[in-house]
């Protein structure tokens, strides 16, 4: 009896030690999520746990190399080599870690210009298949591509895509990068793709660079006075502005600009009245019109003649976003932040030409 007990104790000790030594063994690259709020990564010896926030709940994915570990979660065998993606923002993140060659399908539908030249070329050459629009993709083509994984985002408008993928048993993961309200949080989603494609090192390098550049810019302008910034689009008298906790508001914070609708709660955008725009934005120093369809101040006044009352419009200090803002702008987040800092603090960046903001004539 007694010897049996000793045996058990010894075995348990050995097991415990083994367990400890396993846990303590450091991985070569440990990525941690610092800014992003909608995903988490956990690195284990031969598997990774990826958690993505979708609505109010967290979805757990178990990323494994050889053998699926016995833990709860949706298993995904990595590295994924054949990915179908839903959005050009996914392209930006894959581009950042040089992984666009693993894309086999893209829900594009030829409805907008692509500014990633390598991807454009790959589509022309047939290496990447255009599998239709994100709201109504061509499931047969997706099936035919035999993807390892489909990366989707879920909005109230496209929930049926998720249902359809479930029904067709096509493996997919949810990407909630578009919900991040910190530019660095959004940039950090490269780590999501890195975990899937085993490219942690590139991701870390990319992210460290972006983070350093953004924080350097923030430091550079932090002592200056913060000018008033207006950021909006106007559409038939209805004014759309980013809310106070949005991506844009956070970007303004890095650039030390005083965003005039900072106090509107929430993320995403809000419709405000034209009178509020004129009242609060009337003395704005810089205005960004967040569309690239407006080319000149005259264009702007054709949308609503009453914008002429805004100080920034009178002084010709109005910028629009560049055509590639929504694509390359997400790849070069640091440049976008620097641009915004430069247009709001021109004295700090003499001779600097913004890349992603264009001054209206």
């Amino acid at each position: 009896m007694r010897s049996n007990l000793i045996m058990i104790v010894v075995v348990l000790c050995v097991l415990a030690l083994m367990g400890c030594s396993q846990q303590e063994e450091p991985r070569s690259v440990q990525t941690v999520v610092k800014y992003a709020k909608n995903f988490q990564l956990e690195y284990h010896d031969d598997y990774k746990i990826l958690r993505v926030k979708q609505g109010d709940e967290w979805i757990t994915y178990i990323l494994y190399h050889h053998k699926k570990p016995d833990i709860d979660g949706i298993p995904v065998k990595i590295p994924v080599k054949r990915i179908v993606i839903m959005s050009s923002t996914h392209l930006a993140q894959l581009e950042a870690i040089n992984a666009t060659d693993s894309v086999v399908g893209f829900m594009w539908g030829e409805k907008y210009n692509l500014y990633f030249d390598d991807v454009k070329k790959a589509i022309e050459e047939g290496k990447i298949a255009d599998v239709g629009s994100p709201s109504a993709p061509d499931y047969e083509r997706i099936l035919a591509l035999k993807p390892d994984l489909v990366v989707i985002y879920i909005t109230p408008y496209n929930e049926e895509v998720k249902k359809k993928l479930d029904e067709l048993r096509i493996p997919y993961v949810v990407n909630s990068e578009w919900l991040e309200n910190d530019p660095l949080g959004r940039a950090e989603w490269v780590k999501f793709f890195a975990a899937l494609t085993d490219r942690e090192e590139q991701a870390q390098k990319y992210f460290n660079r972006v983070e350093k550049n953004v924080l350097d810019v923030a430091e550079k302008v932090s002592k200056s006075e913060s000018p008033k910034l207006l950021w909006c689009t106007i559409y038939k008298g209805k004014v759309y502005v980013p809310k106070g906790n949005s991506y844009v508001a956070k970007m303004a914070e890095y650039a030390n600009a005083n965003y005039v609708f900072q106090d509107v709660d929430g993320t995403g955008s809000a419709t405000v009245t034209l009178e509020d725009l004129l009242l609060r934005g009337g003395n704005a120093d810089v205005m960004v019109y967040s569309s690239y369809r407006v080319k000149s101040i005259d264009d702007l006044l054709r949308i609503d003649s009453r914008l002429s009352e805004i100080k920034a419009v009178r002084n010709g200090n109005v910028y629009r976003i560049s055509e590639d803002y929504w694509q390359l702008g997400l790849l070069y987040t640091d440049v976008v932040v620097k641009d915004l800092a430069a247009i709001t603090h021109p004295d700090k960046f003499p001779g600097y030409e913004p890349r992603f903001f264009v001054k209206l004539e």
């Binding site: 539908g109 409805k111 907008y112 629009s133 994100p134 709201s135 109504a136 909005t155 408008y157 559409y235 038939k236 008298g237 209805k238 759309y240 609708f261 509107v264 809000a270 419709t271 405000v272 009245t273 034209l274 009178e275 509020d276 004129l278 009242l279 609060r280 009337g282 569309s291 369809r293 264009d299 054709r302 949308i303 609503d304 003649s305 009453r306 009352e309 929504w326």
Partner: protein, 326 residues
């Protein structure tokens, strides 16, 4: 006599609401600010009242009466209490016009939007008129109009399916409707056209009264059915098209205000109903516009949300009340 008193009271009430609309908003402005701005001084508060708030309030006034008038005429002509300004496919056609303009990436100029909505509506009006001159009965025309709406809606959905999400968002926001974009120049057009249409509709009051008893009866009374049909369809569709072009789709007003007016005035005589509906429509729409822009300030609610949310209970209340009396 009593009816005239109610009408006059309502009219003054509507004027009161308009002045409230001009004075109430995000900006606490005084008459002094307004006078300063009128005298040409640079005063942003006065500018806002004069060039942002006043035109939208007057726009809501005219828009509300136009939609209500349009609804009344169509309800009477089709003898269908569920008919409204959009029953002949005007709203679908207008939004198809806008969809083609916005989703195809042509632009989003203010007058481009107004023009494309108007162009879409005119196409629909012409198609409805072509039908109206051929079909025999009002019911056939109603069904044909509904079908037309479905076809336009389907084409619009095809465009949405293949459009970029950002553009879809812009487009969806258009369909919500708002009087916010209206300027003084627009008001000139709106005032002239709405007033002219109102006068024309008064001419139609007698034939519309006869129509209440059915087309056959009206014919026996010596009413030229075809002329009345064309006139009603053209006038009501034109009013709906005009307001939709400038303000987007405004729900509820055209459908419900005629019912409210009928219950308030306890009559179906169009000589009374036409001015009554115009005043009630204006009163309700201006009130809803004030609520839409102040209740969650600085965030603005779509006007259709307010018209439906506040208006529908009023109609239910009036129906229940009438039941008790009767």
């Amino acid at each position: 006599m009593k009816i005239f008193i109610i009408l006059i009271i309502l009219f003054f009430l509507s004027l009161f609401v308009v002045s409230t609309g001009i004075m109430v908003g995000s900006v606490d402005a005084t008459v002094g600010d307004l006078l300063e701005s009128l005298s040409g001084k640079d005063n942003i508060k006065g500018y806002i009242i004069l060039n942002v708030r006043a035109p939208r309030t007057f726009g809501a006034y005219l828009g509300g009466s136009a939609l209500a008038l349009s609804g009344l005429m169509l309800q009477t002509y089709f003898r269908n209490p569920l008919a409204g300004p959009y029953v002949l496919g005007i709203s679908s056609a207008a939004s198809l016009g806008v969809a083609l303009y916005v989703l195809a990436g042509v632009g989003w100029d203010y007058y481009g939007l107004v023009g494309s909505a108007m162009a879409g509506s005119v196409v629909a009006i012409l198609m409805v008129l072509l039908l109206a001159s051929r079909v025999k009965s009002a019911v056939t025309l109603l069904i044909a109009g509904l079908m037309l709406g479905y076809v336009f809606g389907a084409i619009e959905r095809i465009l949405i399916t293949f459009a970029e999400s950002r553009q879809v968002h812009e487009f969806v926001m258009w369909t919500f409707g708002s009087f916010s974009g209206i300027t003084w120049e627009d008001l000139e057009i709106l005032t002239i056209t709405v007033l002219l249409s109102a006068i024309l509709s008064i001419i139609l009051a007698k034939p519309l009264n006869a129509m209440l008893l059915g087309e056959e009866y009206a014919r026996s009374m010596g009413v030229n059915i075809r002329v009345v049909r064309i006139a009603v369809v053209t006038l009501s569709s034109f009013l709906a098209a005009l307001i939709t072009a400038f303000a987007g789709i405004v729900a509820f007003i055209g459908l419900a205000v005629p019912h409210i007016a009928r219950m308030l005035f306890r009559t179906s005589d169009h000589r009374i109903l036409i001015p009554a509906v115009a005043v009630c429509g204006a009163l309700i729409t201006v009130t809803c516009d004030i609520v839409a822009r102040t209740i969650a300030s600085p965030v603005e609610l779509p006007i259709s949300v307010v018209t439906s949310l506040f208006g529908a209970p009023i109609v239910v209340f009036l129906i229940l009340k009438r039941k008790k009396v009767g």
